[in-house]
């Protein structure tokens, strides 16, 4: 990864100014051109490394959310994961090494909507389900610095 891409990743996962020319604002801070910034972002997107540039919503304010888990018999993991994936309310869905082996995050505009989705899952999939809404956030999502400020163990 080139230095400019690394600088953009490490500098702008939060605090990107909300202004008419955000790529220009990045360019001014990093001493490059707006076109170079746009090219870097487009390249990251093409590589599948960039989900998007924009807000990560505070889910207690934006709507309702929860972390849910299912204990899926090994032979059913593909089928159940596909059914969970198909729900528009699901944004993350991971298999983990545990008896509770399928973990997914659900978000919805409000609590009533969220509860209806959970009821539908309980009824349609008929497996034990954990509903574990966040009670307190001690560290929220601030992104992943990759360069000198990296907190990622290597």
């Amino acid at each position: 990864m080139d230095d400019l891409t690394l600088a953009i990743i490490d500098g702008f996962q939060h605090g990107l100014p909300i202004c008419a020319n955000p790529w220009q604002a990045i360019a001014e801070q990093l001493g490059c051109s707006e076109q170079q910034v746009l090219q870097c972002l487009q390249q990251l997107e093409q590589q599948g490394a960039l989900s998007r540039v924009g807000p990560v919503f505070e889910h207690s304010r934006a709507g309702a959310s929860t972390l849910a888990a299912l204990a899926v018999p090994p032979g059913r993991i593909e089928e159940v994961a596909a059914r969970i994936n198909a729900l528009p309310e699901v944004n993350h869905n991971y298999q983990r090494e545990h008896q509770w082996n399928l973990w997914f995050v659900l978000t919805a505009p409000d609590q009533a909507h969220l509860q209806r989705v959970l009821e539908n899952i309980r009824r349609d999939i008929d497996l034990p389900l954990l509903d574990l809404p966040m009670l307190t956030g001690y560290r929220i999502d601030l992104g992943f610095p990759l360069g000198q400020r990296s907190r990622v163990p290597v």
């Binding site: 990743i9 702008f12 996962q13 939060h14 605090g15 990107l16 202004c19 008419a20 020319n21 955000p22 790529w23 746009l38 590589q47 599948g48 490394a49 960039l50 989900s51 998007r52 540039v53 924009g54 807000p55 990560v56 919503f57 505070e58 304010r61 934006a62 959310s65 596909a82 994936n85 729900l87 528009p88 309310e89 944004n91 993350h92 869905n93 545990h98 509770w100 973990w103 995050v105 505009p109 909507h113 209806r116 954990l130 574990l132 809404p133 966040m134 009670l135 307190t136 956030g137 001690y138 560290r139 929220i140 999502d141 992104g143 992943f144 990759l146 907190r151 990622v152 163990p153 290597v154």
Partner: protein, 164 residues
Amino acid sequence: MNAMQQKALRALLERGLPLVEQPWQQLAGQIGCSEQQVLEQAQRWQDEGLFRRFGLVLKHRALGIDANVMLVMDIDDAEVDALGQRLGRAAGVNLCYRRPRRPPHWNFNLFCMIHGRNRAAVEARVAELLEEHGLSRRPHQLLFSTRAFKQRGARYSLSEPQHG
């Protein structure tokens, strides 16, 4: 900006800014507002705390950070806030939350996410964390992820689920 336009703007922002010059102008055109109105609305949401952060949202697996573990612990209710705050500041911990226990099936109330470039690095960091914070003997488990079936941003602007 009316309520419909606000809703439309939120739905567009959930998918991110278009990667073009003057991206807000393009969003404004899509919902029939001026660029200035769209920027003011987004700034208002930012000031109100609707956004946790605003910037690049990466797919860490594609960047080579493809090991991730959910460390779960059972911590006394009286201690969990202080410990959660300490762990939340510790290097390598990207997310730290308190969640409810669901006995008898689930007895863990403190969750940490630790990501890294490989499993060994993550295991080593977890061992250090547990040692540094005196947690090695507390009930805990490591749930490594083995597959990501889905990873995308949250969608709050959804219509009601279908029944049946």
